[in-house]
């Protein structure tokens, strides 16, 4: 009943692990798959190794966390070993990649396409180094160039993960679609935001600011999915603050074909995937819907 299809890739359920959460090693990705996720997205990786920022890299705020990990990555050569060990019998494996320019994205994508079911492009990290992440995804032309270069380099479906930190997300979504993106992932973390310690006056994160995630950002994510669904004709993966089956239903109604879960793992661990999928199944049984597909876009009246 939960089976669905995303850009031609079959999923046993629409629940995916979001990039940047428990996605650095094959071992944790496999744990998430065993816990019931239909697919996992790796932590974003790049061509060359990168240490990321110093700690503190994460701090709690009302309704979630803000983080500035800083795109730490062991580099594509080392990360290939992890991707090789992901148990693709249990579920689907998606590589999240980042780079400084279209050539770097295309290079990394080409290196891993045989090891994964899909590739997600991180053009939306709000705490990336100059020239990376959201500085690409806030510009329709740069977004087009990155998506286009990767599409020319690989045959697996390509998702563009976009940032909500733009004036008009539809404009960027259309640009990614025109460049050939097979789907969109909405949204990356919000902001950036900041938390200051009131005893010393220091911003707590070493990078001073970071991307906000968690239940508090969900309404914004739902709205972005809703807008992109109206503006484009490609599947959307909804992400932002999902904590229970009702949140998933909201995203499906807004127009998402699948969803990703990340920060909420801190509340209850990887078991969240099993719990939400059984609750979602129960919801559909009691509803007028026969499948996930029937629910997609139901909120567009």
């Amino acid at each position: 009943m939960l089976k669905t299809n995303l850009c031609g890739v079959r999923l046993k359920n629409p629940l995916m692990l979001a990039a940047g959460v428990l996605g650095s090693h094959a071992s944790s990705l496999n744990w998430i798959l065993e816990s019931g996720a239909g697919a996992v997205v790796s932590k974003s990786f790049s061509k060359d190794p990168n240490d990321g920022y110093k700690n503190p890299t994460t701090v709690a705020v009302e309704g979630g966390i803000i983080n500035a990990i800083g795109l730490s990555s062991p580099g594509v050569e080392a990360f290939k070993e992890e991707l090789e060990d992901v148990n693709r019998v249990k579920g689907r494996s998606i590589a999240s990649i980042y780079g400084a320019n279209p050539e770097e994205f295309a290079y990394v994508a080409g290196k891993v396409e045989d090891l994964v079911d899909m590739i997600e492009l991180n053009v939306s990290c709000p705490h990336a180094m100059e020239g990376y992440g959201a500085s690409i995804g806030q510009n329709p032309k740069l977004t087009y160039d990155v998506v286009n270069a990767v599409k020319e380099a690989v045959d697996v479906p390509v998702l563009a993960k976009l940032t909500p930190n733009v004036t008009d997300i539809s404009e960027i979504a259309v640009s990614a679609e025109n460049a050939g993106a097979d789907g969109l992932t909405l949204i990356n973390s919000l902001g950036p935001g900041m938390k200051i310690d009131i005893v010393t006056g220091n911003p707590i994160l070493a990078n001073k600011f970071g991307g906000m995630s968690g239940p508090a950002i969900k309404p914004i994510a739902v709205r972005c999915v809703y807008d992109a669904y109206e503006a484009t004709d490609i599947p959307i993966v909804g992400v932002g603050g999902i904590r229970n089956y009702a949140d998933v239903v909201e995203f499906l109604y807004a127009g998402a074909s699948a969803v990703q879960i990340g920060t909420s793992i801190m509340y209850e661990g990887p078991e969240i995937f099993g719990r939400i999928s059984s609750d979602l199944e129960e919801f559909i049984e009691d509803s007028e819907f026969d499948s996930i597909k029937d629910m997609v876009g139901f909120g567009h009246k």
């Binding site: 071992s27 240490d51 730490s72 080392a78 310690d197 010393t200 707590i204 904590r243 990340g262």
Partner: protein, 288 residues
């Protein structure tokens, strides 16, 4: 089918958001020079609910430049104090060592699963190598309070660097010291001292903390003698709240910050990287 009602959501935000996961900037109440390279820092602490540290748990320590996990070495619930014990090994710990009483640090936690201390009547062998004695000391005090019989193997490179041997003797543990250079007690590694001990004495349980190159052979010896127990591990840590994935271990994927840092013997057998490699901040493997 359960949607969290407002009440439980509110409570969990209090637990995860408002208190534990934001550094509390507090004064260093007292500094104790334990050895030429090791100092203990004592803090006043509100001992309520999950705020109360247990032996084997750790806190994240923020010096306003960087933040690192440190295991809890002193717990006094009645006085409302806890302590961490820090060896000078790099820029972060050097900075901590330069601080004075009354200076401030940010502390969040406590985090992770600690040692089982409900070991009444059991014959326990507690083994600590170097600053690995920090959680072993808080464990030993708690286990003694709960009427366990605890022998401690306290290992260091040299006599001056022995940590908490006198403290635990005073509490009633039998302490076997062991130094690499033979300047105090047995001459040689903890591994050898433990082998000698377990061939002559019966133990029901062991707890171990120290460098993994020490814990790995110890695990082999203790398993061979059918002595079950718990081992405390350490990995490069970022969020410490179970989301970032930096501290996950192969092949189970367990998070050192959430499922660890203390693991049972049976769990250790599933951690294939134990004693072999760890991952750096970038995620690259580094072999011990």
């Amino acid at each position: 089918m359960v949607i969290n009602d407002g009440h439980s959501v509110g409570l969990s935000f209090l637990r995860f958001g408002d208190r534990m996961n934001v550094p509390q900037v507090i004064e260093i109440k007292k500094i104790i020079e334990e050895t030429p390279t090791i100092k203990t820092f004592i803090f006043d602490w509100t001992m309520v609910g999950e705020n109360i540290p247990t032996p084997g748990q750790f806190v994240m320590v923020w010096n306003f430049k960087d933040e690192k996990p440190m295991s809890v070495s002193y717990i006094d619930v009645h006085k409302g104090e806890f302590g961490i014990t820090v060896k000078k090994v790099g820029p972060f710990t050097e900075d901590l060592h330069s601080l004075k009483e009354g200076d401030k640090l940010g502390i969040r936690g406590p985090y992770g699963n600690g040692f089982d201390t409900n070991l009444k009547g059991m014959r326990v062998l507690a083994i600590g190598g170097g600053v690995g004695m920090a959680p072993i000391a808080s464990f030993t005090e708690e286990a003694l309070r709960k009427k366990a019989i605890v022998d401690v193997v306290c290992a260091a490179q040299t006599k001056d660097e022995l940590l908490f041997d006198e403290r635990l003797k005073a509490r009633g543990a039998k302490v076997y010291t062991c130094t690499d250079d033979g300047s105090c007690g047995f001459k040689g590694f903890a591994t050898h001292r433990v082998l000698q001990l377990i061939e002559h004495k019966e133990y029901d349980w062991a707890v171990v903390c120290g460098p993994e190159v020490m814990m790995r052979p110890l695990y082999g010896s203790l398993e061979a003698h059918m002595i079950e127990g718990e081992y405390s591990m350490e990995r490069y840590m970022k969020c410490a709240i179970g989301v970032c994935g930096q501290c996950c271990v192969d092949k189970t994927g367990w998070r050192i910050c959430a499922e660890g840092p203390v693991f049972s013997s049976d769990q250790v057998s599933e951690i294939v990287e134990f004693g072999k490699f760890h991952r750096t901040a970038s995620g690259l493997k580094e072999y011990f």
